[in-house]
Symmetry: C2
Subunit: 301 residues, 2 copies
């Protein structure tokens, strides 16, 4: 999986930090996670093939996480999209979308398959051939969920070079599924362990924005390959973080450390900070594999 970051800002608009939006590519399909105002224009600017977006996850109904959504859906319709779109988010999101579509006298050109989140318990909310999505409760001023996205392990890979030429396709399928093959004509045995190697391992991306420091999420995000965690504030504003149900960079790093994740990506920076050097240094004191999310950069999961 690859994650492209489109916004590292928080609620107050900032010149160099857009509101939240994250594009996860999974086997050539995109999952869009949050969609702050103006996201579709940034997609245009960065030549994102938005037709590849098959799933959208919205964490909560603060504007900096979804005010770009209805515009994006409308644009899909203007482009005559017909492929269904799965939308995962708080229940009221659907009402908001429908109200705006109704008063614009328009309907969507595609099927919107809406899945409402709850923020009471962890649940698997979506699954297709390549991907599983779990939601889990975060602690914020309004109902907010985190997302865990798992790219499934791929099947075993054939070692093509050593297979006989014209080896039958049904036999290849059996090998990929981990079975040994007995050739019905010759009786020859093709051992799975000889002719295949392990496929790609499952990969896990966890997304936590916005949230107060919350150790309850540790079991869910445990050993994620990549954790995005909001880091709105630095230590000096830890009281403010507490009052506004946000986290400091250090708290995000504590979560990353205790969850034993491979890599931590920090974002959702308050407009009060001109740069993220303090966020980085405070987080690094706790968890060494910390990165400051940078807009438009691709991060491998």
């Amino acid at each position: 999986m690859e994650l492209q970051v489109f916004g590292v800002g928080s609620a107050t608009p900032q010149r160099n930090r857009n509101p939240s939006a994250f594009l996860l590519s999974v086997d050539n399909e995109y999952v869009l996670i949050d969609c702050g105002e103006g996201t579709q224009f940034r997609f245009l600017e960065h030549k994102v093939k938005t037709s590849r977006i098959k799933t959208i996850c919205i964490s909560h109904l603060h504007g900096d996480h979804y005010f770009g959504l209805v515009g994006l859906l409308s644009t899909f319709s203007l482009h005559h999209r017909t492929e269904p779109l799965t939308l995962i988010g708080p229940e009221a999101l659907l009402e908001i979308i429908h109200l705006q579509l109704f008063h614009s006298g328009s309907t969507l050109s595609f099927k919107l398959e809406f899945i409402a989140t709850q923020n009471v318990h962890v649940s698997k909310i979506f699954e297709n051939a390549a991907l599983e999505i779990y939601t889990f409760p975060l602690i914020h001023r309004i109902p907010t969920t985190g997302f865990k996205l798992i790219q499934k392990a791929s099947k075993r890979k054939i070692i093509k070079d050593i297979l006989p030429v014209n080896f039958p396709i049904p036999y290849i399928k059996m090998l990929k599924e981990g079975k040994d093959v007995k050739d019905e004509l010759t009786g020859e045995i093709f051992l799975n362990s000889t002719y295949t190697k392990e496929g790609n391992k499952a990969k896990v991306f966890s997304y936590c924005s916005d949230t107060a420091f919350n150790k309850d999420i540790l079991p869910v995000i445990f050993e994620s390959d990549l954790l995005y965690h909001e880091a709105t504030f630095t230590d000096v504003d830890s009281k403010r973080a507490e009052n506004t149900f946000h986290s400091t960079a250090r708290q995000a790093a504590l979560i990353a450390k205790e969850a034993n994740v491979s890599k931590l990506l920090l974002g959702h920076f308050s407009s009060r900070y001109g740069n993220e050097l303090t966020h980085l240094s405070e987080a690094l004191e706790v968890f060494s594999n910390t990165l400051i999310a940078e807009q438009y950069i691709l991060y491998t999961v």
Copy 2:
């Protein structure tokens, strides 16, 4: 008055054309007319003092004309605005705003004085010391209104150089109001025609987006100093203009000519055109004082 253009695009997002937003400055206050998605970020970029926005007019509820509004209002609150804001637009706009504010668990920090438009007849909808705003029906797929904004004529101006020194302030006020003054002590007469000259004339800006070709608006916009009229299409797409209740550049110019306006500004260009050369040449065949609206440029009314 001065008009700054923030978007010349239409519904489908375009890289170099933003959705509609127009900032009219009247005596150091701003009226924002339409507010497409991302407008507040463009204000940031261009260092607009958004606290000066006292009035917002929304023409209709197609997303490219208002999807930036709720974000802007939310940002006013984040900046702890206390000054009331007048919002003029279709009735459902208030419901849409309230629904989004409700689900974000927030309230506005300032009073929103909402004035609902109707699109049945011309009406004066707003007036303060400097400004009058009229709405008038346009013809579009959903209820849409145009706006006529009149900067009132200023009072007569004193010719200071020829007045006696220490001329009493109440007398100055009388002169400004067009009266002659008789000095109570000396009996001397100060003729208004001698000591004052004419103040600034009233200025009129008319705004028509989006609309089919519609001569019914002529009496309202007659002799405007500046007319903004949508010109989504060119002649070759005139059938499309008709079907979508939009105008061609030539039709906009016909309106400008018959309304005998001083200057015509064209915008709301469809994404199908890479530039506006054809719009301009077709409009110029009808009305010579035509300009293509350019983003971030200031136009004097």
